[in-house]
Symmetry: C2
Subunit: 353 residues, 2 copies
């Protein structure tokens, strides 16, 4: 266990380093944080802390900088809660009242705000939607050449799609098709409905409805597309350019790899697959080589009590952890409000998810 004084020295060093990005020397520390002891004592404490793995020295006559382990101890034991200013809160609160009901727009804006308020990179994943079970498929004959396909799920989602009919289709065919699809698929969890299952269904159907070959495949296609688009989460990256102002990202080659990562949606999704609540991975704790001196702080948000997405900030390990966490907590709240406000039934239809 660390002595009280060691804790305050470590905390002071991290606070100082986060602000200045320069190695912290004993003199600067004594001057700006009144620790009540001399520089020599601080030096002794620093030497101890270094030996214990909390600090590092870039070279022999430089000040100390925190190690990953030092940051870890800081976020676990030393960090104090940070309060957002009112103007920061207001900025985030706007999200709840965004006019556009499109989820895309909300999340894109949110990721940009996240970056703006943290000066790092904002990352947000959209939640998966297909969490329920399919309850029914209906086909409605709209006009000579148009039909409407409706897919219902047990958690209240309705997907609808207009289909163009081949000339020779009759109403009774359409109805029997809908009944057949419902019969075979109703009750299944969405994840189970795959291309393979649809293919089987397809070949079964072909035996009975030879003349409607084309139409059947269109229904299956529409269903498939919906499943695909809903099963896939998207990632919104906002304000990536902001980290270019940070001193640790002055090396173009390094930045290049990082920005390449931001375009790897699949990789990001994996990276942002997180436990509920606030999660922090510091430096080496990140597996990817590109991120060995980056920290990701993330939080999850929940829509309709079920499907969850992640909001995260990626920045240098020298990060203002307390502030970032406050921003994330507030943003999480805003997103949950934005997506489950009073008119949620409407919203659900209009939103991409």
């Amino acid at each position: 266990m660390l002595s009280e004084r060691k804790r305050s020295v470590l905390k002071a060093i991290i606070t100082e380093y986060v602000n200045t990005a320069e190695p912290v020397g004993s003199r600067a520390l004594a001057r700006r944080h009144n620790l009540g002891v001399s520089t020599a004592t601080i030096r002794n404490e620093m030497a101890d802390l270094e030996e214990m793995g909390f600090l590092m020295q870039p070279h022999v006559s430089a000040g100390r900088i925190p190690s990953d382990y030092g940051y870890r101890f800081y976020v676990d034991h030393l960090m104090e809660h940070d309060q957002l200013t009112y103007s920061e809160q207001d900025l985030l609160n706007q999200l709840v009242y965004i006019k556009s009901l499109e989820a895309d727009m909300v999340l894109a804006t949110a990721s940009r705000l996240l970056s703006q308020l943290s000066n790092y990179v904002g990352l947000i994943t959209s939640p998966r939607i297909h969490t329920g079970r399919l309850t029914a498929i209906e086909l409605i004959h709209l006009s000579r050449r148009l039909a409407l396909a409706l897919f219902f799920t047990d958690n209240g989602q309705v997907e609808n799609r207009v289909l163009v009919l081949p000339p020779e289709v009759e109403s009774r065919h359409i109805e029997s098709l809908a009944a057949y699809f419902t019969h075979r698929l109703a009750g299944r969890p969405m994840e189970e409905i795959t291309g393979q299952l649809l293919d089987e269904l397809y070949s079964e159907l072909l035996e009975d409805h030879i003349q409607n070959h084309d139409f059947i495949s269109r229904i299956a296609q529409a269903l498939m597309n919906w499943l695909k688009s809903g099963g896939r989460s998207r990632v919104f990256t906002g304000g990536a350019h902001n980290i270019l102002g940070q001193p640790e990202f002055q090396d173009v080659e390094k930045v290049r790899h990082l920005f390449a990562l931001f375009e790897e949606e699949a990789l990001l999704l994996q990276l942002l697959q997180r436990e509920p609540g606030i999660t922090i991975t510091i430096g080496q704790e990140n597996r990817l080589p590109v991120m060995q001196d980056c920290t990701v702080v993330s939080s999850t948000y929940t829509v309709n009590g079920k499907s969850t997405g992640t909001v995260a900030v990626l920045g240098p390990t020298r990060m203002d952890y307390a502030h970032v966490i406050s921003v994330l907590e507030h943003l999480t709240g805003c997103l949950e409000k934005a997506f489950s406000s009073h008119d949620d039934e409407d919203r659900q239809q209009d939103a991409v998810f």
Copy 2:
């Protein structure tokens, strides 16, 4: 008019500079391009070309580099046609056969390919869709709590949206509402249908349908959302990180501004509003200060003979113009094929636009 020899010297310098990114000296030029004259003669020609504004000298004892005007002359008069390799063509051809029918996916992939094949940044705008006139609005009573809104246009688009009904609505109300909306809006070009017009309609309607207050606003809302999402083009930026390999983008501050631009969708859209065919804006020809040493080469693609989008490459003025143009031409063809293949009616429903 430039002498034949001056033209070959200029062309050789540009070719050389595009490859090496280093100022081109007379000796290097004589060695690598057999122009059949001595370095002294080349020096004289270079001095002339500089005086005429085609070349510049970073400092007195450096080689020459092309000016914006030099590049302009090159693309207008000297450039030769470039042929894509088969593997490059294959890469682009994949786009036509992308399984996913989502336009988003096609364009995002295309922008990435564009970057990959050029080593610069790929920019693509999705075409605007709302080019026709509204012909009818239909409301269909699906179940006790659900109605379907259908919006038809004269160029064959159909938008559909499921609406949740307030408890007390009756079928005849729904029908009369649809008739009223159609009566007031049919025949109008899509651009004319704005929030303001809908607001007027809304207040008129309230007088007659006091009890359906809520429902009416939902229909208007759905219509509005559709108009918004369709009237707005999106921009897909791909492979931005690739230009970080180019020597002109080693300055982080410069890169920062450029990357900030890539997140300004509105600005990009404006920038990519282009004449049909290949357009090139070189260096200072671009208005934005960030882009004073960048070139944008763009081409337009057309879907359904009407709505057009832009594909473009943004890179340093020292750009492999011939190659970029070939890539753009080929890509344009692929996109047009991808979006207007045989099953285009289906596609139109499924695609975002």
